[in-house]
């Protein structure tokens, strides 16, 4: 690379603001004090300003935005920007499953009669607690479950309507 090319590269960095402050000061001083540097700076600045001022953006077809939005509306639900899987939710669900399975395994290991003969697994020793469910208690649980199901149904119905409205918008 010849010396002029090296000088040009430094001046371009100066014009673009892509050099360190001390380097910037050094180049600024050279441009002020050295005729060659000043001439090259003038040339490059003219090119820089010429490109900045005269470059125009191309404009796509007038229907471009509409076409993009049509393409987006036609996307399957799984490719919707909103369709994101929250990793925290997955972690919580996984945690609950792992905890439940571990607890069950632990309970089985603890309650198993290891001293029993091979054929007798000691399952008869496991005592399942009997829960006394009264008719009144059963009714409350049933009503609560029904209420929850109806509420969830309404929430999903509202979401489905909203999604449909956005797709058609």
């Amino acid at each position: 690379m010849d010396s002029r090319a090296i000088v040009e590269q430094q001046i371009w960095a100066y014009i673009d603001g892509e050099c360190m402050p001390d380097e910037y000061q050094r180049i600024a001083m050279l441009i002020r004090e050295n005729d060659d540097w000043r001439a090259i700076h003038g040339e490059l600045l003219q090119v820089h300003e010429g490109i900045s001022a005269q470059l125009e953006l191309h404009t796509p077809h007038v229907r471009f935005s509409g076409n993009v939005m049509d393409a987006i509306a036609a996307l399957p639900a799984t490719q919707n920007a909103r369709f994101t899987i929250n990793k925290k939710v997955i972690s919580v669900i996984a945690g609950v499953f792992i905890f439940t399975i571990s607890a069950l395994l632990l309970y089985m290991l603890v309650s198993t009669n290891w001293a029993a003969p091979v054929r007798d697994l000691g399952l008869t020793d496991i005592q399942i607690p009997k829960v006394a469910i009264t008719a009144q208690y059963r009714q409350i649980v049933l009503n609560s479950a029904m209420g929850l199901i109806v509420m969830l149904g309404l929430v999903f119905f509202e979401q489905a309507i909203r999604m449909k409205r956005h797709v058609h918008h």
Binding site: V47, I51, L57, H58, P60, F64, N67, I72, L75, A81
Partner: protein, 192 residues
């Protein structure tokens, strides 16, 4: 007109909350930039529009993955860059895949075989645009990103996957070629 980072983030948040139609704001905001960038890769209007549309659809489907670490425009232009590059690779006519020597040959053939009277007929603006269109795709892209899309060298490095030093070299080469053309034009004007 450049838009602030916060403006874009507000729209993105709205889209992610389910207001799909708000994405049209981003499309309108960046359609010219995206189209111009695609046009720098493939100077065929219909194909460039198709690539630009494809890039916007990809941006929409991956919007939840935008973390806001960079400007939305930088993220979007990265998608445009990869979309155009994939297209060119598929078509197997990418100037980017050619070596530097071949790029120079293409450049020289295109420039110097141009009849001069055609250049004289055009305005400087159109001429400059034409000259940029004749640069190798990687140099034209850098000029477009730097001067038109307002991206810094660092951001162009992120978009193109090239090192900042490489981006600076591309920018230098492209400007050098543009400078030669501009100087030739001025000389002709002075002679006339």
């Amino acid at each position: 007109m450049m838009h602030s980072r916060e403006d874009d983030l507000l729209v993105i948040r709205s889209v992610l909350q389910g207001r799909q139609s708000d994405f049209a704001i981003l499309v309108q905001r960046y359609s010219q930039y995206v189209f111009t960038l695609a046009f720098r890769f493939v100077p065929v209007r219909e194909v460039a529009e198709e690539l630009a549309q494809d890039a916007f659809v990809k941006a929409y489907t991956n919007l939840a993955g935008f973390r806001g670490e960079s400007k939305f425009s930088t993220w979007l232009y990265t998608i445009v860059h990869t979309t155009c590059l994939s297209y060119l690779r598929r078509k197997n006519n990418s100037a980017l895949l050619l070596d530097e020597e071949m790029l120079t040959q293409i450049y020289d053939q295109k420039y110097h075989s141009q009849p001069t009277h055609r250049s004289e007929q055009n305005s400087q603006r159109m001429l400059l645009d034409k000259v940029i269109g004749q640069l190798p795709a990687n140099e034209a892209e850098v000029i477009c990103l730097f001067y038109q899309a307002g991206q810094s060298v660092e951001e162009i490095s992120v978009i193109t996957g090239a090192t900042t030093a490489n981006v600076k070299v591309r920018l230098y080469r492209a400007r050098q070629k543009l400078k030669d053309i501009i100087e030739q034009c001025y000389k002709k004007e002075l002679i006339e």
